[in-house]
């Protein structure tokens, strides 16, 4: 692994500007890193040829003095963003092989600004999950999983013709292979994005966040992830999960990189009725580090039962850091916090049950034949969707059905109004809110599988802001006693990503998080 993969995007831009290396070189280094990281199963589709072609174009643009803000930076794209001519699966069998004839607005914005696509990364099926284990393309393994890199002779396991050939020439073929003592989840649903960025096989990645799908995995793998305000990034061309909650955002290794990439991703899109027509501020300019006099809300309801003491401790650490930087912590109350998860698990499944009706085997994706149209639908959807997706579609179908709408869906949307009002009240007393991102560190693949509710609890701190549409960021703040990263979450007022990023920058400086995942440190 070369030094180029160690760079942040902000750092790489300087090198590119000074001509220390080209985008082609930077991209090639990352293409090799992608190949070397296949054991993580972070990528569903690698697009090395496209990456090189785009990096050549980026270099040419830079040579002409037309370098965009993301010029030449190789990134990964969550496989929920439609990419013209490149398979887009949403992590589902039902979309396997689907090649959209169009490009999502967010990715188009990134390519416009010169970014380079390394490939499409893994995710929970249709972004439904908190561990990336529901993907049809297999779980993603966190680069933080404890393990050792071992060398063995590939020839020993070759079979058939190849075995005869290797035996004949008696040449050992050494390969490096990871042996994990525990396989940990990278979080989800943007698990492939998180793993790729943490494992240095992408400088950054796009993510999407419906109930925490950017922030929770960012916390699990020790990177930065920001979900902007609902309406900042266009949803056009992103496979929908829950329309009123879905929002795209960047996953990067530093706050400065997040500010850079967010600036490229967002912007008004007339093709999305929920996209907001508002100027995009210069987010990087907001990173002054000056938070003197800023009021930081500490919601008392986030001290949930059973939260590990070290998370509580880290949270206090965060409060202390911000106070030391001149901010003023204030206790606030978000009284309906405890109802956020239940609200979310009605609203999101209801929307998804309708959004996913279009996967019917008629116009794209999988079709499993049946005797008549109805049977074809039922076979296709039974085989095409995984267990979690089916569960959510069925819950959503139930809560919208005749006789239950008022008791479930309408009630949940009323509670959602209450939750949003809680935040409105709170922001009269403070400028940002500081909380832990997740109630635990990463867990083992396979844990929580038999209990959907236990899995849902991962999102307890991230879901309320999603329901209210507020911007939120997760910044790595330290390692827990199990050696795994923990993040702190900063929430802001609607469309005040700038302040959120500024405070995140202060946490980042204070935390000085430099730990590398074993998967990376073993290679450097």
């Amino acid at each position: 692994m070369t030094d180029l993969t160690k760079l942040t995007m902000t750092g790489a831009l300087e090198g590119l500007a000074k001509g220390e290396f080209t985008s082609v070189e930077l991209t090639e280094a990352h293409v090799r890193a992608v190949e070397a990281s296949r054991a993580l199963n972070a990528y569903i589709t690698e697009t090395p040829d496209q990456a090189i072609a785009m990096s050549e174009r980026a270099d040419a643009q830079r040579a002409k003095g037309e370098a965009g803000p993301m010029n030449g930076l190789p990134i990964a794209v969550k496989d929920l963003f439609c990419t013209a001519g490149f398979q887009t699966t949403a992590g589902s069998h039902i979309l396997e092989g689907f090649k959209p004839p169009y490009e999502s607005t967010v990715t188009a914005n990134l390519w416009r600004d010169g970014a380079v696509m390394l490939g499409k990364v893994n995710l929970d099926e249709f972004a439904m999950g908190s561990s990336n284990v529901t993907s049809y393309f297999g779980p993603v393994i966190s680069p933080w999983s404890p393990g050792v890199l071992v060398q063995r002779d590939a020839a020993e396991t070759d079979a058939g013709f190849l075995a005869e050939v290797t035996a004949a020439i008696r040449q050992p073929r050494p390969v490096q292979e990871w042996q994990w003592s525990r396989k940990l989840v990278p979080g989800g649903s943007s698990g492939g994005s998180a793993a790729a960025v943490a494992a240095r096989c992408a400088m950054a990645a796009t993510g999407t966040d419906t109930g925490g799908s950017i922030r929770q995995p960012a916390s699990f793998v020790g990177i930065v992830g920001i979900k902007p305000t609902y309406g900042r990034c266009s949803r056009w061309g992103i496979v929908s999960f829950a329309s009123s909650l879905d929002q795209a955002g960047p996953m990067t290794r530093t706050v400065a990189d997040a500010a850079l990439m967010l600036g490229s991703m967002c912007g008004y899109d007339p093709k999305d009725s929920t996209s907001v027509d508002m100027p995009v501020p210069d987010f990087k300019a907001a990173l002054t580090g000056d938070i003197r006099g800023l009021k930081v809300g500490i919601p008392k309801e986030y001290r949930v039962d059973g939260m590990p003491a070290e998370i509580e401790k880290l949270w206090q650490q965060g409060i202390d850091w911000l106070r030391a930087a001149g901010a003023e912590p204030v206790e606030i109350s978000l009284p309906h916090t405890k109802y956020a998860l239940a609200t979310y698990y009605i609203v999101a499944p209801a929307e998804c049950s309708s959004n996913l009706a279009r996967y019917d085997g008629v116009r794209f994706g999988l079709r499993v034949e049946g005797g008549d149209l109805k049977e074809m639908y039922e076979n296709t959807r039974a085989e095409g969707f995984g267990a979690e997706v089916k569960r959510r579609i069925m819950i959503g179908t139930y809560v919208l059905s005749a006789g239950y709408y008022d008791a479930y869906y309408r009630k949940a949307q009323q509670v959602r109004t209450r939750i949003a009002q809680d935040f409105e009240e709170a922001f009269k007393l403070c400028d940002v809110i500081l909380t832990p991102t997740a109630p635990s560190t990463a867990f083992e693949i396979g844990a929580n599988m038999d209990d959907p509710i236990a899995m849902y609890l991962n999102d307890v701190f991230t879901v309320p802001a999603s329901l209210a549409g507020l911007p939120g960021i997760s910044v790595p703040a330290g390692l827990a006693s199990d050696g795994l990263p923990l993040g702190l979450q900063i929430l802001g007022r609607p469309f005040d990503e700038a302040t959120v990023l500024k405070v995140a920058g202060v946490v980042e400086s204070a935390a000085d998080f430099t730990a590398l995942p074993p998967f990376v440190s073993a290679r450097y």
Binding site: G231, P270, E375, E378, M394, T397, A412, V415, T417
Partner: protein
Amino acid sequence: MSLDKATVAKIAHLARIKVPEADQEHLAGELSNILNFVEQLNEVDTVGVQPMTSVAPHKLRRRPDAVTDGGVRDAVLLNAPETAEGFFVVPKVVE
């Protein structure tokens, strides 16, 4: 709230997902657990509270009445499992 097998079968039918009878019992249990979990919302007083329709702060924008799209039949049919003579093709529907 506890769902029975018949309700699971009804939901599965509405959602057009084939659920073998052998799986209905298990699924009924899982779905019931989730419904029990969300029922805590009944504790919240929502009398007179408007249900949220969108968190977006603006009014619905309207576009001008101009033909700006369509005419892309090949692209529209490109990913379809079955087509003929410019149509999508599905198993026969009997009305």
